[in-house]
Subunit: 332 residues, 2 copies
Amino acid sequence: MHIISPYLLFIGDATDQLSIKMAQGAADWRPNLCVGEFSVDGCTVTTGIKKMSIEEASKQGAKSFVLGFANSGGILEKRWLPYILSAMDHGMDIVSGLHEKLTDFPELIAKAQETQQQLLDIRHPKAEFKTGTGIKRTGKRLLTVGTDCSVGKMYTSLSLEKSMKRMNFNVDFRATGQCGILIAGQGVAIDCVISDFLSGATESLSPNNSPQHWDIIEGQGSLSHSAFAGVSLGLLHGSQPDALVICHDLNRSHMRGLPHSQFPSIEATMALNLQAAKLTNPHVKIVGITVNTSSVSIDEGRKICDELSNKFSLPCVDPLRDGTDSIAKALI
Amino acid sequence: MHIISPYLLFIGDATDQLSIKMAQGAADWRPNLCVGEFSVDGCTVTTGIKKMSIEEASKQGAKSFVLGFANSGGILEKRWLPYILSAMDHGMDIVSGLHEKLTDFPELIAKAQETQQQLLDIRHPKAEFKTGTGIKRTGKRLLTVGTDCSVGKMYTSLSLEKSMKRMNFNVDFRATGQCGILIAGQGVAIDCVISDFLSGATESLSPNNSPQHWDIIEGQGSLSHSAFAGVSLGLLHGSQPDALVICHDLNRSHMRGLPHSQFPSIEATMALNLQAAKLTNPHVKIVGITVNTSSVSIDEGRKICDELSNKFSLPCVDPLRDGTDSIAKALI
């Protein structure tokens, strides 16, 4: 799965900022990969980058037309097909993170053959993975893990990559979800992999590297989330992390989507992840904590982070408000 | 996935008893579902049941032609197609646990349409699963878990079902692997499910039931196996077991397929499984231990089981040598 840049971000007629999270991620983290944003009548939101037609984007060199919106059910609505066909006629590959496949539409298959453009269904990995070996790989790896789903693991990973690049680390972000894959231009949507190959696919995501190189691997789910803990564990074992960063969101009373569930403490999350990670890397260490403190004031958020930092003797930050330099420094 | 009995077990020209494990499982555990065994020139092994041609099996009422052999790579060799086509002409569905799909062969698709027979690729679940909810279900559940892969979890599960039926328990075996699915006539090959749906697929496997009903769920992998622990954890969380049976094989020095790995103790396996299982069932208990003692004498095996039984104050048996009545009794 290799996405060719630059991208034209298609956000359709979206009216909900959350529904264009995928386009927003690319615009925020890789503005240099995005030539522009394309929307149609009725759209009331924007990623903030330049509006542009398919024709104009093509002239500016756009190579991929990205379906940058989501909808419930992950359906690819028929009304978007004319735009997709036009983008292919203008020399662009098509990138989709929807559940419904581009390759399920015969007219798209035919156009792809005619134009020799690719149809990239990010949520449907095509690679033939192997089962995990557990064999130690060279280079260093950091994995973000969480008390829950959607607590800022991707954001923390990308922020760490940015901090570490500024400090001249040799570092790569390794994407495991569709939004991350668009940002990185490659990766594996790990929860879309056949279970048997969970660890093996993760191993292939961060192969042997030079001894001082860091892979920052985007975590998924949580060991305490009863629907997705299997994914989190396969990802943890396959990553063989040297370093873990614990990600947390203040604003939770139960696991995402499971109103009857209990929420784990940060201590319990640390213990559970360390214990499991030691199976493939006995030297694993927790190197920092990130907290989404957006539900409280900046001062209150800072106080909470300071308390956690003192309690665990680890750097603790809100990655959006504070950045992650303090955690990156701890890796030196 | 529902397999219609009775079966004709096709073992091709197998010369290795281990390669016909799938046919053997059905012949051993469900002889009443099997009308006979069909093999071709060169075959030197047998499941022990009556040899029979496709024509004869059809006359005896066979409804499914089972590819009961395995090969490295899970390839469906072209030379078997004539037999498969003939079986469909004789009114049988085709059942395959091979990696390569029956439905990848246009001639089989065409014949299936012509004859209205089913092509059942057990390793490729077609059901649309949901993600797990973790919501408590009615009825009771027992899951077999192991120190490693292939330590007797399916055998233990089936033996327990047999013991419990004799004791008039209301009980069902729930299959999670291809061999088990053939034996049960239904189930989900859990390691072939997309990771996102691991727990959800497991939840659907043992739905709500009457309060005294037991589901005996076939375990997979091991929480200590770095390639498959994710599968084991998803299965554990989705099963919500009330009872766990720990399965072990004396003859191991490292995890199956991972020569560099450490082997966990029975104590560690108990602790790890109890801890993880409590996320979806805080009342889970370990109710017994089974050990494959085939590598030592009967007396020595008995002694080892007695020592483990005393050490953990739990029934401990070799399920093949001793049966599992003592564990079933502990469930009353």
